[in-house]
């Protein structure tokens, strides 16, 4: 077999070669190496806290990838993804705690349930455009939040639900490392599916709708149906991630699924890069790490004897820095980490000859 390297021009002889995700065998190789490292090295490098953070990154990345399909590819801004994440979490929790449904079907049903809810909230997109649609998804967020808190018989209100231990075929999932494998297997699968969706006719139709919906309609694309599909896919991703999260944390309350979480998801994909699947992963990593870092810092200061008094007042600065980082990022690298990554990659490829 001939090893494919990056050519200095376009020498592809068959169109199939252009369809490949990776242009060179090196790309494929690196991905393979990456996956090996991900599953065989990383779980043993980190302690329980490190894995806890990684697991969160994996879960958020799944949700962010889904959201990027909706916002970055289809151009429909949703401010309700925090609540969608919650719908998945609640569905899984209710199924597992009240009906004794096993882990796998519960998580999948969590995704499906959310995607139904997502479709319902996507219906206004038939008539609403741009910011009007955005605000109607904001309405969705608040309506769902209200339901989480007030439908006590189902959701347990503010007290929430405690989930039983998750089991797969009789094997009980416990500990961060086991969950790491479950989460990251889903992560790899969902990433691959997302890549496939965006490089086939569905992805092309999404981009067409984003760029010019009138022309898309004229090219025979049923715009509304595709918008709904996009809502469905992205809310499935969010719900699935939410369900994983619920199973992982073991108990849920309405508290995390607020508007702030929606905003954090959007921050992830914008910082990662709109319309970039890999970017969403970077974004999820970045935001999760920042969040952890800032709260660790606050906790650390809180524990220092002399500073305990001051620490309480320093806590709000966490929010300040979070905002500041987003602002700085947008001002200095509005195309997101994906763009930085692209530049790094291409300069590495051409090194030592820039240009």
């Amino acid at each position: 077999m001939k090893l494919r390297l990056r050519p200095c021009g376009n020498f592809k002889e068959r169109y199939i070669e252009e369809l490949a995700i990776f242009e060179t065998d090196f790309g494929r190789l690196w991905t393979l190496i990456g996956i090996v490292i991900l599953f065989f090295v990383i779980p043993f490098l980190f302690g329980s806290y490190g894995l806890y953070v990684l697991n969160h990154i994996g879960i958020y990345a799944i949700a962010a990838v889904g959201l990027n399909i909706l916002i970055g590819f289809t151009g429909q801004i949703s401010l309700g993804h925090g609540a969608f994440f919650g719908v998945g979490a609640y569905t899984a929790a209710i199924l597992m705690a009240k009906l004794g449904v096993p882990f796998i079907p519960a998580v999948i049903l969590g995704g499906i349930m959310t995607s139904i809810i997502g479709l319902i909230f996507g219906i206004p997109s038939s008539r609403l455009k741009h910011l009007y649609l955005t605000i109607s998804t904001l309405a969705g967020q608040f309506i769902l939040e209200y339901i989480f808190v007030h439908w006590k018989s189902l959701t347990g209100g503010t007290e929430g639900i405690i989930l039983p231990k998750s089991t797969i075929l009789g094997y009980t999932l416990k500990g961060d490392r086991t969950f790491f494998y479950v989460i990251f297997m889903c992560f790899v699968l969902f990433l691959w599916i997302a890549k496939n969706i965006v490089r086939t006719r569905f992805g092309r139709a999404f981009i067409a709708i984003r760029d010019n919906d009138q022309a898309a309609e004229g090219m025979g694309i049923p715009v509304f149906r595709y918008k709904l599909l996009s809502f469905g896919i992205s809310s499935f991703y969010a719900g699935f991630a939410g369900a994983l999260w619920a199973a992982y944390t073991g108990s849920i309350t309405p508290e995390p699924f607020t508007f702030t979480l929606s905003i954090e998801f959007i921050a992830m994909i914008i910082i990662g890069g709109l319309g970039s699947i890999t970017g969403s992963v970077f974004g999820a990593t970045f935001i999760t790490l920042i969040n952890e870092l800032l709260s660790q810092l606050a906790a650390y200061l809180m524990n220092l004897k002399g500073l305990a008094g001051v620490a309480m007042t320093i806590a709000p600065l966490r929010e300040f820095f979070f905002g500041l980082i987003i602002v700085l990022f947008l001002i200095f690298e509005p195309k997101g980490i994906a763009e930085v990554w692209r530049i790094v990659k291409s300069s590495f490829r051409l090194w030592p000859f820039s240009y």
Partner: protein, 292 residues
């Protein structure tokens, strides 16, 4: 019947508050099509400046007003210059996201300085503003709110319809390149609209503060409350913001009066979705002109 009337008056008064809170928001949207997520924080900043000057520094009220207005006008200018100007030419969603970042920054700072406590202003409104219609009495705060709302409605209506600067602002929102080609100073338009918006926010923040006390969390929540109000009326319409405010104010009060208070916060959004499905550009918004 009396109960209903009381609720109605109360609802209308709250509606006026929403309306006045929405004005600054519409101002920014009309000139740059940006949804400002930091709106609630701008309200809060205005309210706190006034608090510091009138209560902590104990300066006379009229001076406090003047300083607050000048200060927030400048603040709007600075915000535009520091944060929004570098974003000219970027996609709208990124600019909107930037205001989200700003919101977090301001909220963090305000909490850091003032913490989450609630403060109150001294009562300085003249008692003569109290009005009694039949069995329903209206407190001075509401009368003042109503008067200010009407005043702003007239000023802004005239400004956007007839003044050159107002027309330039609308032209920039419509097409930046065309506006540039005719020599409209786009940067100045943006700066001015943020400055004016910030001033209006300070006004609204003070009014809200008089009524409910000043609390960072409450005021920043108010920033989100503004969304259904302006969308209901139609994003570009000042009159729409006021009517949207009144509708939502009345319905909220009626719902919490007759059903339950917990429904209060969510009912605005339910109404919003229903109305948008019937009128996709709000009650008074510009219908998008699309030609193929």
């Amino acid at each position: 019947m009396d109960f209903f009337l009381t609720l109605l008056v109360q609802g209308l008064s709250i509606g006026c508050l929403y309306a006045i809170a929405a004005l600054g928001f519409v101002m920014i949207f009309k000139s740059s099509s940006v949804l400002n997520f930091a709106h609630g924080e701008l309200l809060a900043i205005g309210a706190y400046i006034f608090l510091v000057i009138s209560v902590w520094l104990k300066l006379p009220i009229y001076l406090a007003f003047i300083i607050t207005f000048v200060g927030s006008f400048l603040l709007g200018f600075v915000i535009e210059r520091l944060f929004l100007r570098p974003m000219i030419g970027e996609a709208l969603i990124e600019v909107i996201m930037l205001t989200v970042g700003l919101a977090a920054m301001f909220k963090g700072l305000l909490l850091f300085i003032f913490s989450g406590n609630t403060y109150v202003y001294p009562n300085f409104l003249p008692a003569g503003l109290a009005v009694k219609i039949g069995s329903v009495s209206i407190s001075p705060v509401y009368t003042a709110t109503f008067l200010i709302t009407v005043l702003f409605l007239i000023i802004f209506g005239l400004f956007f319809k007839y003044s050159s600067q107002g027309i330039y602002m609308r032209s920039v929102a419509d097409s930046q390149t065309a506006a540039l080609s005719l020599g409209v100073n786009v940067r100045r338009v943006f700066a001015l609209s943020w400055a004016i918006a910030s001033l209006v926010c300070a006004m609204s923040g003070i009014v809200l503060g008089i009524l409910n006390g000043i609390n960072v969390h409450d005021l920043s929540k108010m920033g989100l409350k503004v969304f259904p109000v302006v969308i209901l009326g139609g994003l570009e319409s000042i009159g729409g913001a006021i009517i949207g405010g009144l509708i939502i104010g009345v319905i909220e009060t009626l719902v919490s009066g007759y059903f339950s208070t917990s429904l209060r916060d969510v009912v605005a959004y339910v109404i919003l979705v229903i109305i948008l499905m019937i009128k996709p550009y709000g009650l008074f918004g510009l219908v998008e002109i699309e030609r193929v």
